[in-house]
């Protein structure tokens, strides 16, 4: 089919203006599903006709709208008409129905609905209580965990204070070496009990495969006192005991520590008053 010829036959205008007969309409609607250009041409004419009608519009009497809105029962209409006036229930009718068997049916239906309603409500309320309980449980767990960690920090601080204040404790101030001038830590060393504690003050963070290692220098020989991390910040760390030490040193070693210190990686050094 030649769509152009079909379009210029006047079928579109005829169809849109309602002048096409049944078979022409059916054919046109069917062809519209196949040829988008036909739909476009139809739209074009429809718009022209519409624009023309709008240009020539004439305001109808205002009563027409009022009557239309009344007729369709629009709540926007001002007057109440018979079509939307309230339904009047006759007293006699209502009494008859109340005493009839319909009333029992109604009560039975209402009680079933009420029962379902109550069941639903209680189910909902049970559900919401359960949700609230679960929320409380998880909050409680979180608080417990927080308390435990706070407690352990507090205990460490208390312990630190005890050690610091103990008259037998020697404080060794570890100062940074040329390699790491800012590194600093304190050693609390009780020569009586031989306990060694370390408090990291400022140690640069290390790659995950490295750790700091504390050494005691006894007669120029290093003794391993254990490893620690820079993240053990501001918490007192119990290191290995030593009875003797002329100095303490911190080096960077492979994770887990070394048997002998890598002295060129020495981060800080602190001398004690102990002599040979």
């Amino acid at each position: 089919m030649n769509v152009k010829d079909y379009i210029s036959s006047g079928i579109i205008e005829s169809y849109v203006m309602g002048l096409a007969n049944e078979s022409e309409r059916t054919e046109f609607e069917q062809l519209c599903t196949q040829y988008p250009e036909l739909v476009a041409a139809r739209r074009d004419f429809e718009e022209k006709l519409e624009n023309h009608a709008f240009e020539n519009a004439e305001i109808p009497p205002s009563m027409v709208k009022v009557k239309v809105l009344e007729a369709i029962g629009n709540p926007g209409s001002q007057r109440i008409t018979s079509s939307n006036s309230p339904k009047i229930i006759n007293m006699e009718n209502s009494r008859t129905s109340a005493s009839g068997s319909g009333n029992w049916r109604f009560l039975a239906a209402a009680s079933v609905i009420l029962l379902i309603g109550l069941a639903w409500f209680s189910y909902q309320s049970h559900n919401s209580q359960e949700t609230a309980l679960n929320e409380l449980k998880s909050t409680n767990t979180a608080l417990r965990q927080k308390l435990t960690s706070t407690d352990s920090i507090l205990n460490k601080i208390v312990e630190e204070q005890k050690i610091v204040k103990d008259p037998n404790t020697t404080v060794v101030n570890m100062v940074g070496t040329q390699t790491a001038p800012k590194s600093s830590a304190n050693i609390y060393w009780d020569s009586t009990s031989t306990n060694v504690f370390l408090v990291v003050k400022n140690m640069p963070k290390l790659p995950s495969d490295k750790q700091y290692q504390l050494w005691a220098l006894i007669d120029n020989k290093p003794k391993d006192l254990g490893v620690f991390d820079a993240t053990d910040d501001k918490v007192i760390l119990k290191m290995k005991n030593t009875q003797k030490a002329q100095a303490f040193a911190i080096t960077i070693e492979q994770k887990g520590g070394s048997t002998s210190p890598t002295l060129d990686k020495m981060q800080s050094l602190g001398k004690t008053l102990q002599t040979n």
Binding site: S14, M17, L49, E50, N56, V64, G76
Partner: protein, 182 residues
């Protein structure tokens, strides 16, 4: 309330199908004037009759909106055809015919309408104004078909013109009309 709401045609149709009163108010405010003008052209400027028809048309639009199919044409086209059909039905109704002083005998109706039409002063409004630009032989046919609602067969009978010619002339007239609408 009080906030002006506008709709695209798509939104308007959806809202109307959902029985949205606000959309219907918008529909009326937006389209009543255009439809009223067309109705008046068909009922030859009888304002009272046109108002009654317009009222009936909008009630029918509200009731029949479910049957509106967007694939078959624009909303206005659909409403325009409802308005046109309602106007023509009114003109043909017995009560209207009876109200006309010079009532014609049924077998003379076609001829008298054809005569009226050729003699009638074409109203200077809307489509009728555009019709003025057409050749007389075309104008009469469009007048009879579109504004009086006669079928092609009826026109062929009353004008004694072959059916094929009626169809061709009407289609040509409509194509010209289209040009004038630009």
């Amino acid at each position: 309330m009080g906030i002006p709401i506008t709709y695209t045609e798509q939104e308007l149709v959806l809202a109307l199908k959902e029985r949205d009163n606000q959309a219907f108010n918008f529909l009326y405010d937006n389209y009543a004037g255009a439809l009223y003008s067309i109705i008046k052209q068909i009922v030859t400027d009888n304002a009272e009759l046109a108002s009654d028809i317009l009222q009936e048309v909008f009630i029918n639009i509200w009731r029949k909106i479910e049957s509106y199919d967007q694939t078959k044409g624009r909303l206005f086209t659909w409403m325009l055809n409802i308005a046109r059909n309602a106007s023509i039905d009114t003109l043909r109704s017995k009560s209207y015919q009876n109200s006309q002083k010079n009532q014609e005998l049924p077998d003379n109706v076609y001829k008298s309408v054809a005569n009226q039409t050729t003699q009638m002063n074409v109203d200077n409004i809307g489509l009728k104004k555009v019709l003025e630009k057409l050749k007389a032989e075309h104008r009469v046919l469009v007048e009879l078909a579109y504004f009086r609602g006669f079928t092609h067969e009826e026109i062929s009978d009353m004008m004694s013109i072959p059916l094929g010619t009626v169809k061709t002339r009407i289609r040509n007239a409509l194509l010209q009309l289209r040009e004038y609408l630009k």
